[in-house]
Amino acid sequence: MSQVDFKAVLSLARGYRFQWEESQNNHVLLYPEGMVQLSDTAAAVLSLCNGQRTVEAIVAELEEDYETDGLSEDVISFLEEAQEQGWIQYA
């Protein structure tokens, strides 16, 4: 379902929480009775899915942080997977 709208605002899905876990030395996504340990790149994207940024803004911000361009495709493919998993929703 590659129909990501660049102008849409993303947030975490209902009941999901993103946080740093000191004891696991990792960012995690917490949800009803479950938890996913996130890779650094997944954490970087999800930290921006906070109901205040459009997909476009998320890509731009990541490109700035990583001092690169052309991240759009990778970010989109991650967002598609994250949506499939039910982690994020369009506000």
Partner: protein, 368 residues
């Protein structure tokens, strides 16, 4: 011995009191009386110590956790400490205002359990008129901005209604539905002849669940787990003893699994006497089934031992008399015939002559 991992899950069984009397309750037959419960300070100490150990998921359970008047205090502290907190409830003991307050205090998730999809069967099994209130509370939970998570506990007396349960869930616009087959512990084991579904029922429930999973894909997540009696392989109880999960009983007893109280020789400790760090890493109880040294055959040489860790030790103990035996739900167990006998009994004798034993409600004194 490999490094002991930190726990991720704290189950806080804050009380054994419950306004419901479900005959499949997983609480022990000897319920902890109210006067022996940890006080607020005691629970706050548990929350702090377990969080420091690494627990990130917190379940408030019971009994009925809503019975505790200090639940709000515990919820607020849990949020402050960074837990993701789950309230596992019948819904009896809250109203829309209390739900809203939980939300403001930082509770992350409420799971409302149902006994059935209709009032008559639900209220018969619960031993009280709770069905309409449960419907109202499921709606209140969602209206408050939570995901709606419903749990139907299924067994022989209601498993033929899985389709109706899922219809109800869809009508309520549930986000997640768990169809949880009764685990045969505690009161459920005492009532097993009434509750164990037949093989035909299990397969039919599975078929219906899969059909609804397809139908509601992307809208409502449906979880259905085949009961271990029909799987031929045991479940990795609590994801492996002393690996992920720590439970604290109403009286402060710290348990590697919530029914471990019944096992002999563990030397369980109380959080009033020792801190959780010591109990998790050092105590005999938490190390009892860690690693593989304790294993007997057929587990010791089994190539699936790292997957299920020998299964449920409480089940092994209750059915075979030795917790170190393989869980008899495993077809490789020399005691597997005990499971087959139970299945035969349930198939041949669908109407047990023994009365259904409803659990006790309020516990103010030790049961004799």
């Amino acid at each position: 011995m490999p490094k002991i991992p930190s726990p991720l899950w704290l189950l806080a069984e804050v009380t054994h009191s419950c306004p419901l009397q479900c005959p499949y309750c997983s609480n022990p037959l000897q319920l902890v009386p109210k006067k022996d419960e940890l006080d607020t300070e005691g629970w706050l100490k548990v929350l702090h110590q377990a969080r420091k150990l690494g627990a990130a998921q917190l379940g408030f359970s019971g009994g009925e956790p809503l019975v505790r008047k200090d639940l709000e205090v515990l919820i607020a502290e849990a949020r402050k400490l960074g837990y993701y907190s789950n309230l596992i409830t019948s819904g009896v003991g809250m109203d829309a205002a209390r739900v809203e307050n939980f939300r403001e205090l930082g509770l992350d998730h409420i799971q409302v359990s149902f006994q059935a999809d209709d009032a008559t069967l639900n209220d018969y099994l619960a031993g009280t008129n709770a069905f309409q209130h449960k419907l109202d509370m499921a709606r209140a939970v969602k209206a408050s901005g939570y995901p709606m998570v419903l749990c139907f506990v299924i067994h022989r007396q209601n498993t033929d209604r899985v389709a109706q349960m899922l219809d109800l869930a869809a009508e309520l616009q549930a986000d997640y539905v768990e169809l949880a087959t009764t685990q045969f512990e505690g009161w459920a084991l005492a009532n097993r002849d009434h509750l164990l579904p037949t093989l035909e029922q299990v397969r039919e429930a599975e078929r219906v669940a899969h059909q609804y999973q397809e139908k509601y894909k992307g809208k409502m997540k449906i979880f259905y787990v085949v009961p271990d009696y029909y799987e031929n392989r045991p479940k990795a109880c609590v994801a492996g003893w002393g690996r992920v999960f720590i439970a604290v009983a109403p009286d402060g007893l710290v348990l590697p699994c919530h029914s471990a109280r019944s096992l002999p020789d563990l030397e369980l400790h109380n959080v009033r006497d020792r801190d959780l760090d010591w109990i998790w890493y050092e105590s005999k109880a938490f190390n009892y089934f860690r690693g593989e040294d304790w294993m007997k055959e057929p587990c010791r040489s089994c190539d699936e031992r790292e997957k299920d860790f020998g299964g449920c030790h409480c089940q092994a103990f209750k059915l075979t008399g030795d917790a170190k035996n393989a869980d008899p739900t495993c077809a490789k167990s020399p005691h597997h015939h005990l499971i087959e006998q139970a299945i035969d009994t349930s198939r041949l004798n669908p109407n047990s002559s023994k009365p259904l034993l409803f659990r006790k409600r309020q516990i103010n004194a030790n049961l004799s």
